[in-house]
Symmetry: C2
Subunit: 156 residues, 2 copies
């Protein structure tokens, strides 16, 4: 199958300069803050974004280094299939995060609950739409036994 080429549309800035300091998921660090600097040429595409309280970000795990099909997730001690975990070392290192939107000012978006490394290349922004994206009865697979996760109770 042919290669597919994308080009970053902006950069995500966060408080985390090292992989080791970066939260495993935004839900573990809901009060942190970061911002997106969208390339000015795309700023017009931000119209109507302000009305959403959360955004879906797709980005490039630019610090990823290869992958293994079986990998130890951060929340468990045993290896799992790479498609059953969220690890950044994956066949196509595309990151997915749902972040809180605080404010849009020109080509800058102030966001919260960030879980990516500082300087991450952004590929896409989509609105988080509850009717599309909430699957209330979803099971959580092996995560139900992850001890760190069981300590966490979602406040939002």
């Amino acid at each position: 199958m042919d290669n597919i080429t994308f080009k970053p549309i902006g950069i995500i800035y966060t408080p985390y300069s090292q992989k080791e300091d970066t939260p495993i998921q935004g839900c573990f660090a809901q009060s942190n803050k970061g911002y997106i600097e969208l390339n000015p040429e795309f700023a017009e595409g931000l119209q109507d974004v302000q009305g959403f309280s959360y955004l879906i970000l797709l980005y490039y795990f630019h610090k990823a280094a290869g992958y293994a099909l079986l990998t130890k997730p951060f929340l468990d001690k045993d290896k799992k299939g790479i498609f059953a975990i969220r690890h950044y070392n994956r066949p196509n290192p595309i990151g997915f995060s749902i972040v809180k939107l605080y404010r849009v000012r020109g080509n800058i978006l102030d966001i919260g609950g960030v879980d990516m490394i500082d300087g991450t290349p952004l590929l896409d922004i989509k609105p988080y739409v509850p009717q599309f994206d909430i699957k209330a009865e979803a099971g959580n697979g092996w995560y139900q036994n992850a001890s760190e996760l069981s300590k966490y109770s979602p406040k939002e």
Copy 2:
């Protein structure tokens, strides 16, 4: 910023051969079915996937044709910023869908609630994890006034 290159890891097969027939979102067609044929070399990465009831798919909108920063969404008559809608004609045409997982058999995944066109190149599979992905208090921006959406009440 530099180009980023990905390679499809498989193909998504659905009942929809034309854009016009394809549901706007999977929540509007929850009973439909499709399947993923993952390239056999990645099959080992499906270990532990079976435990999840929903999967996040990232894929390439291979029928997209350019983009406009202001575009009319399928659920409204007025143009919106491209980052406030889910339209496939976007700067980086990466699709995002949450699908129901029925069964994993070898390198084939039987899925439901599909909203992509038949033959779509797949980029990534991630588990849908309620603790990470449900934002119960999220607002729904301009969608709250979309008449088609207001007729739809999420059953799941």
